[in-house]
Symmetry: C2
């Protein structure tokens, strides 16, 4: 089993519950808990400099902001920063996020090793996940599977970028100009019109407000 584990989780009650379980159910000797992403990254640096690196990172995705200034504000950023320093570290994400699209991208983009969905069996799953990841396998919470079955319409990256820009208040003309500057094609205002209109049909939206609202609520933007 892993001997040295870093836990990044900002909720004190959750943090304690996890540490307790890792100690008692998995007999992990050295568990370092951190409540801020920046501090977690520092721990990684320190351990590397002492040639005694962490073997596993367990992290939440969302961290509350408070009076302490932080460079890193999310679990995804934390993973990215840590991977720059220590590419081989195993990573398990423990979060309440249950959108399969987002979780999928964690595996694909961030190359995480395990995903545990917080819930009534979150700790049991965390134990399982840790075992699996230790055996060089990946793990994700079984309930996620069910959600994937609900065929979710996938947005391609191009459309997604347009929608994000719209949600950020850009006009279609501005988006067109932005794409031209970035040498991305297609980029005409007309094409953007067509693309968005097609999304109206796909998602049953009456206009841009409606579409943006729906997609944010679906967690796609």
């Amino acid at each position: 089993m892993f001997k040295k584990v870093l836990l990044a989780e900002d909720f004190q009650d959750t943090n304690l519950g996890i540490v307790d379980t890792l100690e008692n159910k998995l007999q992990i000797e050295k568990i370092q808990e951190e409540f801020y992403c920046d501090k977690a990254l520092n721990r990684i640096k320190q351990a590397l400099s002492k040639d005694d690196p962490f073997e596993l990172l367990i992290t939440d995705l969302h961290f509350k902001q408070d009076h302490v200034d932080c460079n890193i504000t999310s679990g995804v950023e934390l993973i990215q920063q840590i991977r720059k320093l220590q590419p081989d570290i195993k990573v398990i994400v423990n979060s309440m996020e249950d959108n399969p699209v987002k979780i999928n991208s964690l595996f694909k983009q961030e190359k995480i090793d395990g995903y545990v969905c917080k819930g009534r069996h979150g700790l049991d799953e965390l134990v399982k996940s840790t075992h699996e990841v230790y055996q060089n396998r990946t793990y994700f919470s079984p309930q996620i599977n069910l959600n994937v079955a609900n065929n979710i319409i996938e947005l391609e990256a191009f459309d997604l970028d347009i929608l994000k820009d719209l949600a950020n208040g850009l006009t279609k003309k501005e988006i067109s100009e932005k794409l031209k500057k970035q040498n991305i094609s297609p980029n005409s205002e007309s094409t953007i019109d067509k693309r968005v209109s097609r999304l109206f049909d796909e998602f049953g939206a009456k206009n841009t407000n409606h579409l943006v609202a729906k997609l944010i609520k679906l967690g796609k933007i």
Copy 2:
């Protein structure tokens, strides 16, 4: 100190962390943990029928739904049901909700005794809160105060309705007509224009898409 406490919290990790703290820091003898609201209510009933009631309820607000059918799906409903059976029970809410308006209504409407905001010091606060409530005082997390100070812009019902309609794809003309049908005043398209434009300033939005997107992300719509 309280001798018999009921904990309703659906996340296993959080649940364990809280039980651990109540046992070790507060020496509470009998802690009953439940992961579903319905089961929590049953515990209350059973305890009452045996003439050995719980003295304190600690509950979350949001409970994940899963394959188990439940009548009660939220902490607020749970509190209301329990209060019907046992009006004098003390109640502490432990949740990540940090909207002071909503928390305020918990004290006013549900007559709760304490509110603890989950976070980096959630458990310390829960200990404090339990002490205070035991002394027949109320308690709420200090950071809530701060949030109130950061004048959070509150939307009045009228503006909120307009925004919801916009997010649902209605045009301003349609909203105006809808208001006229319902005999709600003001209802002119012009006033709707003005109201929304003012919200642009208040929330720093460039246009309607931007505003709707921001407010959904803030959980206001």
